[in-house]
């Protein structure tokens, strides 16, 4: 039996004024899959995320989420259908405490008496219990990223989108993040945009490469790593521990 796709885009086009940022994306991932989305800056990764989360209305093409057409749906309804996103620039409540964030996220789909337990569970899993009463605006960048990921997870979405989750994190935090993502995989589907190739190799199975609004390559992580063209030009700053930008 062919595995079903949790999300599928067909011919997705996004045009701003005169600029075509997405030029026909045919993309799909299966239930429980973890896919990494890579590509140089300007390739259209964040725009792609904005389209599928409903923040932007695509110029053309269609989007199917959990077997329903959601091309014209707005952000609220798509979030309610089970999609959560950690945005490229962390979008948090700078004046509220960490616990409040998790509570708001969990409270949307849980009954009142279930929320407290769910909040504690998330705080525990992400090992941020010691930050529970801290005001988010005062946290370090890496911690803010973690809180946002925790918040998104707390709303229990079927599809989790992470836009550069490892940015600004210490090496320890990155390792822990990789573990967390492994735990999330299976129960949730994930699409992760990243530049950090070491991190990608820690977590990924399949990688999609975006370039200039089109899918350049979609393959297993090992094959993508070995692709000469990509390695020299399109992959971020690091491959196999070497900084190719200085070559």
């Amino acid at each position: 039996m062919k595995p079903k796709a949790i999300i599928e885009t067909q011919g997705l086009v996004m045009r701003f004024g005169g600029v075509e940022v997405l030029r026909g994306i045919d993309f799909a991932i299966e239930y429980g899959e973890l896919r990494c989305l890579i590509g140089p800056n300007g390739a259209g990764k964040s725009t792609f995320f904005k389209c599928i989360t409903g923040q932007l209305r695509p110029t053309a093409g269609s989007i199917k989420f959990k077997d329903e057409w959601v091309t014209a749906a707005d952000a609220v309804s798509i979030a309610r259908r089970g999609m959560g996103i950690k945005t490229q620039v962390p979008s948090l409540y700078d004046g509220l405490a960490v616990r409040e964030h998790i509570r708001l996220a969990a409270g949307r789909h849980l009954m009142r008496h279930e929320v407290a337990a769910a909040v504690d569970d998330v705080l525990e899993r992400f090992a941020i219990r010691h930050l529970a009463t801290q005001i988010v605006g005062r946290l370090a960048h890496g911690q803010r990223q973690l809180v946002e990921i925790a918040m998104v997870t707390a709303s229990d979405p079927d599809l989790i989108l992470l836009d550069e989750p490892a940015a600004g994190m210490t090496h320890q935090e990155v390792e822990r993040l990789a573990e967390l993502i492994h735990e999330l995989k299976g129960n949730h589907s994930l699409i992760i945009v990243e530049h950090d190739m070491q991190f990608i190799q820690m977590i990924a199975r399949r990688v999609t490469v975006l370039h200039q609004g089109r899918i350049l390559l979609e393959d297993d992580v090992d094959h993508v790593m070995r692709d000469e063209q990509l390695r020299d030009v399109y992959l971020g700053r690091r491959t196999h521990g070497r900084d190719v930008s200085k070559t």
Binding site: A79, Y93, L104, R108
Partner: protein, 340 residues
């Protein structure tokens, strides 16, 4: 709620009750009527403190609901001859209007300055419309709208179970002051509920709240409608201690409420109430003293205030309080207080 909080709350309630009951016996009638006016304006201020300070909606139109509540009460009371159904109707009208206006604004995704303009304009429209209702042609049932002069003989509230017994000014004070306390308690409670938390979330980051799956339009509509109902209630009280006229829709009243919220501290509840009382008392005193033009003095006070105490009375007092008490409380730990 911690034990300490419960004790503080109980003390505050007791103090408030004592003040309300004792006041008519120690001051003259004129002061009581003024106090009633201040109390009704305080409820209006509270409505803006909620809508703007906690939900981020820049409403320049609270006075629209204030005036509608007042006029609806006056018209209904004159026609029904009984204040109880009049009050019910007078609460319904501004609430409905707020709901409709809110739907119009929030479903159109209108935000900040533009929202301010729409609400201000609506208030202005009402002002001009009611101002032009002079002459016998303009009446609703038995109530003549009176144009610029308004409706001078508004029937005062009567006991709900005995329409023959009208309330005395002292009684209206009791009603107003109690209502103010109840309104304050209500808003505090509201802010502790999920809806209240969502209002604050919208104010902090509407986009993120959307991405979590909450519809900001509905939350803002709820806040706006509740604020409209409160403003309408304050209008009913105002009708009972002053009289109903287009001045209720005036730019002056609109600006005053905004000023009180800002001075009291945007994002707090007690501050604006306090500022409302304080500034009205100052204005009244300046008018009495007739030393310099009261507008001039008030204006200079405001300017000085902004340049010296920009975050508002309450936050500044809170900061001063923190600066004094923190060192004492934290003598043991070496923890450094985060910079403001």
């Amino acid at each position: 709620m911690t034990f300490r909080n419960s004790v503080v709350t109980a003390l505050c309630v007791a103090a408030a009750a004592a003040t309300i009951i004792i006041l008519p016996h120690v001051v003259e009638l004129f002061t009581i009527i003024n106090a009633t006016i201040y109390a009704s304006m305080a409820i209006l201020t509270l409505s803006l403190a909620l809508v703007w300070g906690f939900c981020g909606i820049i409403s320049f139109g609270q006075t629209a609901f204030f005036g509608l509540g007042g006029y609806a009460y006056a018209v209904a009371a004159i026609n029904f001859g009984d204040s109880t159904p009049a009050i019910a109707l007078a609460l319904l009208v501004p609430t409905l209007f707020a709901g409709l206006l809110g739907y119009f604004i929030f479903w159109g995704r209108v935000t900040d300055v533009y929202l301010g303009v729409i609400t201000l304009t609506v208030t202005l429209i009402l002002y001009k419309l009611f101002n032009a209702t002079a002459g016998d042609a303009y009446h609703i049932g038995k109530a003549a709208l009176g144009g610029f002069n308004g409706i001078p003989a508004t029937p005062l509230m009567n006991l709900p179970w005995d329409r023959g017994t009208t309330l005395e000014p002292e009684d209206i004070w009791y009603v107003a002051a109690t209502l103010l306390c109840l309104a304050y308690a209500f808003v505090r409670w509201l802010l502790s509920t999920k809806l209240g938390h969502l209002m604050i979330a919208i104010r902090e980051n509407e986009h993120r709240t959307e991405l979590l799956g909450y519809d900001p339009r509905r939350i803002k509509l709820a806040a706006f409608t509740i604020g409209g109902a409160m403003a309408g209630a304050s209008g009913i009280l105002f009708a009972n201690c002053v009289f109903v006229s287009p001045t209720m829709f005036s730019l002056l009243y609109t600006a005053q409420v905004i000023v009180w919220v800002i001075i009291g501290g945007l994002g707090t509840l007690a501050g604006p109430i306090f500022a409302c009382f304080l500034l009205q008392m100052i204005t009244a005193e300046l008018g009495r003293l007739n030393w310099l033009n009261p507008n001039f003095v008030l204006g200079i006070i405001l300017i000085a205030f902004v340049l010296l105490m920009p975050s508002g009375i309450l936050p500044t007092l809170q900061r001063m309080y923190d600066k004094i008490t923190w060192p004492i409380l934290l003598q043991k730990s070496v923890r450094k207080r985060p910079a403001q």
